[in-house]
């Protein structure tokens, strides 16, 4: 493990400590105290990945879940085995960091509107994939119950308006990229999580999202596909929200401070500061 931590600067290590604590505390508060139907336990992981690269993201994600599992007082639950998912999320965030996805892109006029439209199209496309997926609509295999379809439509509309609004109000085309990165991260997270939930926990996680698992099972899905279906519903929403939280945090930090992280120069644009 030492060769691993030695390649991180002291600054990255300090950030990891804070990020892991944020993952655990916000995740615990959202899921257990506020009982909201999202996770929000990867804000720190994505932040570290974007600022310090895929390996730092991987370590932060995996360590968060393992430490959470064994943390006195708030431990237990199902979080530990999902360390694999968290690690993958961290790696993806590192890739987004390299690609400069989270760099602010001030825009005006046609380019701004184009970005807003791209953001909306991506979200509607994702929603339509879930809505029209034959695995869930084929009456022979069974499908989502009607309320899930209603929920998809409502959430897609709310998400499109939010993303377009975010881009237009902040005059920042980066919003479209952030939405795409968040949604992709969510899809990958769902695909990685499904076998863990199915194999380790009998397909459920003890949270509100189990309702969707039950509904899919009712419709005739097997253990694995019911978990996957639930993940593909919850994870893209969760990770898109998380991505925007990270973007807001990054843009409100002093560029001078951001630039000191390994990938900082890919996030900071202007250099007058």
């Amino acid at each position: 493990m030492d060769w691993l931590s030695r390649q991180f600067s002291t600054r990255v290590l300090s950030l990891m400590v804070v990020a892991i604590a944020i993952n655990i505390v916000i995740g615990y508060t959202v899921q257990t105290v506020l009982k909201l139907p999202i996770y929000l336990d990867s804000i720190g992981t994505i932040l570290v990945g974007v600022l310090a690269g895929p390996i730092a993201g991987l370590v932060t994600g995996a360590a968060s879940n393992l430490i959470w599992q064994y943390a006195p007082g708030i431990g237990g639950g199902t979080i530990g085995p999902f360390a694999i998912t968290a690690a993958v999320i961290g790696v993806l965030a590192g890739i987004w960091g390299y690609l400069g996805v989270y760099r602010s892109r001030p825009a005006t006029g046609a380019r701004l509107w184009a970005a807003a439209i791209i953001g909306v199209v991506v979200i509607l496309f994702l929603a339509s994939r879930i809505y029209n997926n034959p695995a869930y609509t084929d009456p022979n295999v069974g499908g989502y119950p009607a309320w899930v379809f209603t929920a998809i439509v409502v959430i897609a509309i709310v998400a499109s308006v939010s993303v377009a609004g975010f881009i237009l109000v902040r005059r920042d085309a980066a919003g479209a990229w952030v939405a795409v990165a968040g949604a992709l991260t969510g899809i990958v997270a769902a695909i990685v999580s499904a076998p863990i939930a199915a194999y380790v926990f009998g397909g459920v996680t003890g949270s509100g999202t189990d309702v969707i698992v039950a509904a899919l099972r009712q419709g005739g899905q097997d253990v694995y596909n019911a978990s996957l279906g639930q993940g593909l519903f919850s994870d893209p929403i969760d990770k898109t929200i998380t991505s925007f939280v990270v973007f807001i945090v990054l843009t409100s930090l002093s560029p001078r401070v951001v630039a000191r992280f390994p990938l900082g120069e890919r996030i900071v644009t202007d250099s007058e500061g």
Binding site: T29, G80, G202, V204, V213
Partner: protein, 270 residues
């Protein structure tokens, strides 16, 4: 490496000596390896045997360490998950036809019940195993012992700083939540109210913590954190030949058991 462990006499007595008492006095690394092996076997060996054996060992070691009663809250914490596992699988197990009874739309199946029972046992065995480790082994002890065994100071720092900061940050969140309640913001009521309560809670936490990173980095450097030397050991923990043998057995045996289980050679077990 001492057989007894302890803190050298020149160190003041308030620097805590290693714990005593049954099970607790085992070397922290031994206890960690036991917990890891338990987790892997509970999840890795299919059927009843894996989780049942692990649960039996975990409960025995918990009783030996005298933490039996303190395991109850950890057991209660698994209720939502266990309830979900039992309900969803017993009533909605895909493809199962061996119905226990039929009552209107409800048709529980034996296949689902067995699957749910095994998953429940696995979850409980794992939760109890994690709890026994947490209740008998301080994170500081574990990190100190791992560092003596060669883990680098940078890894040791991340582990112990995180474990120490989580309760502190949770406390801060609790203060913020209580202040919000005092100002009439609802953290119990309708979903939109709870979502609105999240922003003033997560915001200061995120921004406050990140501005601290810079100062913490410089403070660490100002205390020689990047020096190349190995650090002196202050606390040592007892170790013994039987424990070394047990660790070797766990490290070699657990992967073997998992492998054998995966290729189906344990098919004769229930």
């Amino acid at each position: 490496m001492s057989e007894t462990g302890g803190v050298p006499e020149i160190v003041p007595e308030f620097v805590l000596p290693p714990p005593t008492g049954a099970y607790r006095r085992l070397n922290p690394t031994t206890k960690l390896l036991i917990a890891l092996a338990e987790a892997l076997i509970a999840f890795g060996v299919r059927g009843w045997s894996g989780p049942v054996v692990v649960l039996a060992i975990v409960l025995a070691s918990g009783a030996r360490a005298g933490v039996g009663a303190r395991l109850v809250p950890f057991l209660l914490a698994t209720i939502p998950l266990v309830a979900s596992i039992l309900l969803v699988n017993t009533f909605l197990y895909p493809g199962a036809t061996d119905r226990i009874f039929v009552l209107g739309p409800l048709a529980p199946t034996w296949t689902g019940l067995v699957f749910a029972g095994q998953a429940t046992l696995r979850v409980i065995a794992f939760a109890m195993s994690a709890a026994v480790l947490g209740l008998t082994t301080g994170p500081d002890e574990l990190v100190a012992d791992l560092e003596r065994r060669g883990m680098g100071r940078r890894t040791a720092f991340v582990l112990s700083a995180t474990v120490r900061s989580v309760p502190r940050v949770l406390e801060r969140v609790r203060e913020i939540t209580e202040a919000q309640r005092a100002r009439g913001l609802d953290t119990e009521g309708r979903i939109w109210r709870r979502v609105r309560g999240l922003v003033p809670l997560a915001g200061p936490l995120l921004f406050g913590a990140l501005t601290d990173v810079e100062e913490q980095t410089m403070a660490l450097e100002a205390r020689g954190f990047s020096a190349p030397a190995r650090r002196a050991v202050i606390r040592t923990f007892p170790d013994s030949t039987p424990q070394r043998a047990l660790r070797l057995l766990l490290a070699a045996g657990t992967p073997l058991v998992l492998l054998v289980s995966v290729i189906g050679m344990l098919g004769f077990l229930p």
